[in-house]
Amino acid sequence: MLCDICGKNPATVHLTEIIDEQMNELHLCEDCARHKSAAMEQQFGLSDLLGSMANFEKPSSKEEEVVTIKCPSCGLTYADFKKIGRMGCGECFNVFRKYLAPLLKRIHGSNQHIGKNPAKTKAPTKLYKTKAGLQELKNQLQKAIQQEAFEEAARLRDKIKEMEAKKEKE
């Protein structure tokens, strides 16, 4: 018997699924069964939270599209991600970019990487010396004020002053 999903490998795992009182028998190969069970596994904690955040980001008009988008490289669907809270592979980030960008922004406060890059294996220029550093500090200051983290805000304000003074001297 061949696997019901891929139709290529011999089925070694036999599953009974009950959906809406309909009983379904599935015969799967090891690889497909692993994917299936990972997709079915309900994990609580962080993955649940991420899943529900991902849900929150979903544009309502395109609900169907979101659930059925599938990564061509690893086979993970956005619905899988919502269940397990984990991406399937690097390519998933391209495939789900539209939905991931706002999610990353919610988690990190930004969706734009400014750290090191493996292609130029050199560390970014020293902190607080570039223009970007100053702008970044100003952004952080705004964030600290919004979060009422006033001690942090005062520290950032001093750093910005210090940097601007240095710039003027130069």
Binding site: H35, R86, P118, L127, G133, E148
Partner: protein
């Protein structure tokens, strides 16, 4: 190196040296990296995981900074050995579960550890004694650069390093500092400090990382945000916070010394007394009492026991370490007996 060779060795980060080592036990940086074109470990087939294990271990063999290291394949270790590696902070508790195709590379100094096929393909960590995140970053950055030349990392210009969990995406970096804050706990200021830390989007964990409770006045503080800031900015942010916590702890210690010196001396010496004479002791009680003795040593009240000995005792009194030292499987009750015996030996010999 064999796993049994580790037991008589003191990890680099346990030496009790480095900046602010009266308050800061250790500084740790970890980088999450994945290989392009391979599904993340939770989504990969056995064959794919094997390929990742092979590719990355071959690459690591070529890295100068990882020259004197040993690769431990977890499937070849028993549960005590795996627990032993967790107790030495060389890998996570998560890495002891479902061990197929998992491994950890450890260098001889035990300050570098690379977990393979944990949540991400590679979790590279570097531990330093004391308050030393920038030094840790410089070393780990070098290892990462060397690996990037040999491995094709999953990376996008806008999202940075891609990770299984979006909470690690970007730099893939987490910097953690392990703090010993007995005076803030005793003066009941710790709640306020922890609340402030959470507000600044940092996390506090216990001695053994994710999912563990703070105990014995030890707190591990790390960044939550990994995207939108450069690595050095993230470190600078953690450092700023840690500097303020060190200040507060130091201040609290000074106040206790001036206002409640006798009470403090009493608590520290009682703790030492119990450790030197107890016949049965749990690991939880050990950690709490050692914490007080460490404070005594930092304040100059306990003169004949150094920080390194105390740090070592924290590790070798843990369950798997005791069993490795005795070379037999011990029940919890047997461990409590052996633990007390080991501590008496170590402290009374001094």
């Amino acid at each position: 190196m064999q796993i049994n060779d580790l037991i008589n060795h003191t990890s680099e980060w346990l030496k009790g040296t480095g900046p602010h080592s009266d308050v800061v036990i250790s500084s740790r940086i970890r980088l999450a990296r994945n290989l392009n074109k391979f599904p993340f470990p939770h989504w990969a087939s056995k064959a794919q995981l094997n390929a990742v294990l092979e590719k990355s271990s071959q690459a690591m063999e070529k890295v100068e900074l990882l020259k004197n290291s040993t690769l431990f394949v977890l499937a070849n270790l028993d549960s005590i050995d795996r627990q032993f590696l967790v107790e030495r902070h060389l890998m996570s508790i998560e890495h002891t579960q479902k061990t197929e195709q998992k491994a950890v590379l450890v260098n001889d100094e035990e300050n570098i550890a690379v977990m393979i096929n944990e949540e991400d393909h590679l979790r590279i960590q570097l531990m330093q004694s004391g308050f030393n995140l920038f030094e840790a970053w410089e070393i780990i950055n070098g290892i990462d650069d060397a690996l990037a030349k040999l491995l094709d990392y999953a990376y996008l210009a806008d999202f940075g390093y891609l990770t299984a969990c979006p909470t690690n995406t970007g730099t893939g970096m987490r910097g953690s500092v392990m703090l010993h804050l007995p005076a803030l706990v005793m003066s009941r200021q710790i709640e306020r400090v922890l609340a402030a830390i959470a507000k600044l989007s940092f996390t506090t964990r216990g001695l053994y990382g994710e999912g563990t409770q703070a105990s014995g006045n030890f707190f591990q503080i790390s960044n939550q945000v990994s995207l939108g800031h450069s690595e050095t900015e993230i470190i600078e942010n953690i450092n700023g916070l840690i500097r303020r916590i060190i200040e507060q702890e130091t201040q609290a210690r000074e106040i206790m010394l001036t206002k409640r010196k006798e009470v403090l001396e009493d608590r520290i010496n009682r703790s030492l007394g119990i450790l030197k004479s107890a016949r049965i002791i749990t690991s939880q009680e050990t950690i709490e009492l050692l914490s007080m003795v460490r404070l005594g040593s930092d304040l100059g009240m306990v003169k004949d026991i150094d920080r390194r000995t105390i740090n070592e005792l924290f590790i070798i009194t843990q369950p798997a370490h005791l069993q490795k030292l005795e070379n037999v499987k011990l029940s919890s009750d047997q461990r409590d007996l052996k633990r007390a015996e080991l501590i008496r030996k170590k402290l009374n010999l001094l």
